[in-house]
């Protein structure tokens, strides 16, 4: 059985539905991420799980039991706030001991558990400091230790790394992964950073305008986006208007505006004449000076219109046929590195039939 189940939950603020008809299940031990652009309702959904906000409709169940009547202080969940929310008048040790004191744990047993919790987040010597004497990363760790010390069923994290700089963020990401593995607690993680979501999560719920757009593992949502929004929001994607001409099981033959016939792959059943988009990831397109040939691949001749050097890769904007612009990406893996092609160059593009995804409209 799912640890946490969210059933058709809706929350309105005034006329606006911050979350509408959201349903999802979170399994025990999972690192589950709510991903979406700013204002899509991630925080609102998290606050409803924590109990701070009450759904206008729908249910939230823990182990199959409705939580509606359980106030936040009695839910076996803890939250790591984006602002850390450390108590400024308590030392680090007192902050971390707070949940234990609330649970009336024997004061004599407290010290050892606090020391262990400090060790878990590598802050052994910081117990007597006050929060205002800590760096951002240290505050983050104290907030984690405080939320984990009494081993909640669920840890809710609202953009916990947003305030950290890039290097520290990457370091904290790997620490979060190993921490989650060590303590074995289910994490529900909120972020608007798709890279972070892909790197950390077992499963991701992509949200858009209060709705759950798609739920899946990182590679599922990346490789098989269920709709235009997900394809566009996660990573970079060429989206080309297309219509189904013929089908053969999961293989479809599309008529793509400006390109003509392209073979692609569809994860959902579709019918001849269906409209939608061809989603094509830039890294799945091959660029060559000479024409290549291969059975089921699509081949086009294009002109380089622009390039962006990103260090590890170079992104090319290529014009094909009737003013169709696609992005293609080449790793700078050769010794001399980048700039294989220059703007104005004629090049050949190709991609396998299974690189392109057909996404239905509606």
């Amino acid at each position: 059985m799912a640890l946490l189940e969210i059933r058709h939950v809706t929350k309105r603020f005034g006329g606006l539905a911050a979350v509408s008809d959201a349903s999802l299940e979170i399994q025990p031990g999972e690192f589950f991420t709510l991903l979406g652009p700013s204002g899509c309702g991630k925080t609102t959904l998290l606050r409803m799980i924590a109990g701070f906000d009450v759904p206008d409709a729908g249910q939230i169940l823990l182990d199959g039991v409705d939580l509606a009547a359980t106030p936040p202080e009695r839910r076996p969940f803890h939250t790591v706030f984006q602002s850390y929310a450390l108590f400024p008048h308590m030392t680090v040790a007192d902050n971390i001991a707070f949940p234990l004191r609330m649970a009336k744990v024997d004061e004599r047993k407290l010290a050892a558990r606090v020391a262990a919790a400090l060790g878990e987040v590598r802050l052994q010597d910081m117990g007597t400091r006050y929060p205002n004497a800590l760096s951002g990363g240290q505050k983050q760790r104290v907030a984690l230790a405080r939320a984990l010390i009494d081993r909640p069923r669920l840890l809710l994290l609202d953009e916990p790394l947003a305030a950290l700089d890039l290097k520290l963020r990457e370091q904290m990401q790997s620490e979060l992964i190993s921490l989650q593995k060590d303590v074995g607690i289910t994490f529900v993680y909120v972020t608007h950073d798709q890279g972070e979501a892909l790197a950390l999560s077992h499963r991701i719920a992509v949200m858009n305008e209060g709705r759950v757009s798609q739920i899946g593992t990182p590679d599922e949502v990346y490789e098989f986006p269920a709709n235009r929004f997900v394809a566009d929001f996660i990573g970079t994607c060429n989206l080309l208007d297309a219509r189904v001409m013929a089908l053969d099981g999961e293989r479809v033959t599309l008529n793509v505006a400006g390109l003509g016939t392209v073979r692609a792959w569809s994860s959902r059943p579709c019918q001849q004449g269906d409209r939608g988009v061809l989603a094509l990831r830039p890294e799945k397109i091959q660029l060559d000076r000479a024409p290549s040939s291969g059975g089921e691949a699509s081949h086009f001749l294009g002109t380089i219109r622009g390039q962006m050097y990103l260090g590890d890769v170079t992104v090319y904007k290529v014009e094909i046929g009737n003013a169709v612009l696609v992005e293609a990406l080449l790793p700078n893996s050769t010794a001399r590195g980048a700039r294989l092609f220059a703007p104005g160059d004629q090049i050949y593009l190709s991609w396998g039939y299974d690189a392109g995804r057909f996404i239905h409209d509606g």
Partner: protein, 291 residues
């Protein structure tokens, strides 16, 4: 240029706080003059011109039971006034700080509105409200009569003094408390709740300790003037409600013994300093360095 910019606040402090206090200290060691006021510090007699100072004023304070009782009573009144103001003001300040923006300004306005009426007029109004002909006293005495007790007078009693002082000083407690509470990060309460704290725990472990600077500021603003109050006890206290402030006022205006009045008022200042210093020290020790 830098120095000029630093001058005004320091000049202000020196002119309006330090100098008057020093004058009081000096005059408290003087003799009373022939026609009241002060006699000169310099006396000319057979030995020539010399300083003539005395500790008699302080000795008189410490050897008279009356003055010590009056100091103690003033301390009691001021303490009770501060405690009552705190009890009344805290919930009010909390409600104001946590109400939505538009109501908040309205509520703050209502705290300040009484200031628009002259202080004396408000005290006289209380005199009428507490007077024997007013509904309050009548109902109370009817009740007392009914249970077979002798009627009481609300006016001209320590009770009237306390009511008057609490009424007058309440805004001085509400405003600093509000200013403090309004700044609290609401995430802290959410976090405490999330970590298992019920409403009572959230108040005692988070809100109250974080509000101690506001409590201290408000208490000082109430306690210090309440300690030296004389107008409220004058009007509402009758003979039973007299405070040290009344005696000091009498020394200056009626007995015309300025040195003794000065000595009393220096003692009052020291008392206020000691009490507030002690309270601040206790608060700091209790809450720690994080606030």
């Amino acid at each position: 240029m830098r120095r000029l910019l630093v001058w005004p606040p320091q000049a202000y402090l020196i002119a309006f706080f330090l100098v008057p206090t020093l004058i009081m200290v000096a005059s408290s060691f003087a003799w009373p003059g022939e026609e009241g006021g002060l006699s000169s510090f310099w006396v000319r007699d057979a030995q020539g011109i010399h300083f003539d100072l005395t500790f008699d004023n302080y000795r008189d304070i410490f050897t008279s039971r009356l003055f010590l009782v009056l100091f103690a009573r003033s301390l009691g009144y001021a303490g009770l006034t501060t405690a009552s103001c705190l009890l009344a003001a805290y919930p009010l300040a909390l409600v104001i700080a946590r109400s939505a923006g538009k109501y908040r300004n309205l509520l703050l306005l209502m705290v300040i509105v009484p200031f628009w009426t002259n202080f004396l007029i408000r005290i006289y109004a209380l005199m009428i409200i507490l007077g024997p002909q007013a509904a309050l006293a009548r109902i109370l005495n009817a009740l007392l009569d009914w249970v077979g007790l002798t009627p009481v007078s609300l006016l001209f009693s320590p009770f009237a003094v306390l009511v008057g002082m609490v009424y007058i000083y309440l805004p001085f407690m509400v405003l600093p408390l509000y200013a403090n509470l309004e700044k609290h990060d609401p995430d802290l309460l959410d976090a405490a709740r999330d970590l298992g704290a019920g409403s009572w725990q959230r108040f005692w472990r988070i809100t109250f300790p974080l509000s101690l600077p506001g409590v201290m500021a408000g208490s000082a603003l109430v306690f210090i003037p309440a300690l030296g109050a004389f107008a409220v006890p004058d009007i509402l206290g009758g003979t039973r409600g007299i405070m040290i402030g009344n005696v000091i006022k009498m020394q200056f205006l009626e007995a015309r013994d300025w040195p003794f009045g000065s000595a009393l008022s220096i003692m009052l200042t020291l008392l206020a300093l000691v009490v507030t210093g002690l309270a601040a020290w206790l608060a700091r020790r209790k809450v720690g360095a994080g606030v």
